[in-house]
């Protein structure tokens, strides 16, 4: 009986360790994608708005040496 309990505990701890690693990887993956994101059709409106601002002259290449 104690041997069986020991096996169960080992399995349980192993499952918890694997679960933690999977959780941590997924958390970091989400974080990374939160920081870096590709622009696709969902961003079409924003992209067009910014490019229109460039085309209209509302935005021009920044000429300053530093940023305020």
């Amino acid at each position: 009986m104690p041997e069986r309990i020991g096996d169960i505990l080992t399995l349980l701890m192993g499952a918890l360790a694997v679960g933690y690693v999977v959780y941590e990887i997924e958390r970091r993956r989400r974080k990374l994608h939160d920081i870096w994101d590709v622009l696709d059709e969902e961003d079409a409106f924003l992209t067009k708005m910014l490019e229109d601002m460039v085309d209209s002259g509302e935005l021009q290449p920044y000429a300053g040496a530093t940023l305020a």
Partner: protein, 213 residues
């Protein structure tokens, strides 16, 4: 959620994309490199739109050491001015970033423009400074229907060191992939590589590359 718009709605004034450019080697965007301190600050520019330069997507030629060709990227900085570590890092290192990206124009939205931008897209609030990069080659080829660039939400990074690493990774990626023929694949490959490296670190119980907490 942002509204979707018709694809390919772009100005015809933009220069044509370059074709058949060789692919640059892939470099991980998260690897550290040393960066020297930024130059001394200068008086702020009110709106960031002072250069009477061309609107055809060409980088300002008087700022470059060598003749610049057609800009591959349009770089936009949206920063409403939160008193954050990321904001300070961006301000302190902008001169260096600009020198590294002198082949591509950088458009800096004024605080007023950035705030107006974020009022229309509330999900972006608190994530700025945001650096959006439009891949003009992809835009000219496919419009906005598919991949056409990427953005770095620098404001998500909470400490100065994390923000600096993010900014360095951004500059490194742009320089390394400027001639890439498939920027999307390069980005996804790098993100996959970072995910794999993160998994290895978790298993090895190292946290040195942890970002964003």
């Amino acid at each position: 959620m942002m509204p979707k718009s018709a694809s390919g709605a772009r100005s015809t004034r933009r220069p044509p994309a370059r074709a058949n450019s060789p692919s640059a080697p892939i470099v991980s965007p998260m690897t550290n490199v040393a960066v020297k301190p930024s130059e001394e600050p200068a008086p702020p520019q009110k709106t960031g739109v002072s250069e009477p330069s061309t609107q055809t997507g060409q980088a300002p030629s008087q700022e470059t050491d060598e003749p610049s060709g057609v800009a591959r990227f349009h770089i936009f900085i949206v920063d409403s001015g939160w008193n954050s570590a990321a904001h300070r890092v961006l301000v302190e290192n902008f001169a260096l970033l600009r020198n590294l990206q002198k082949d591509d124009p950088i458009y800096v939205l004024s605080p007023e423009q950035s705030i107006a931008f974020q009022r229309r897209h509330a999900s972006r609030i608190g994530r700025d400074p945001i650096i959006a990069v439009h891949d003009m080659e992809a835009l000219d080829r496919d419009g906005t229907s598919g991949f056409h660039g990427f953005r770095l939400s620098l404001g998500v990074l909470r400490t100065p060191q994390q923000a600096l690493q993010g900014l360095q990774a951004f500059a490194r990626f742009l320089v390394a992939h400027r001639r890439s023929t498939d920027l999307e694949a390069d980005i996804r490959a790098d993100l996959r590589r970072e995910g794999l490296m993160g998994a290895i670190e978790i298993i090895m119980n190292h946290n040195t590359r942890e970002m964003g907490e």
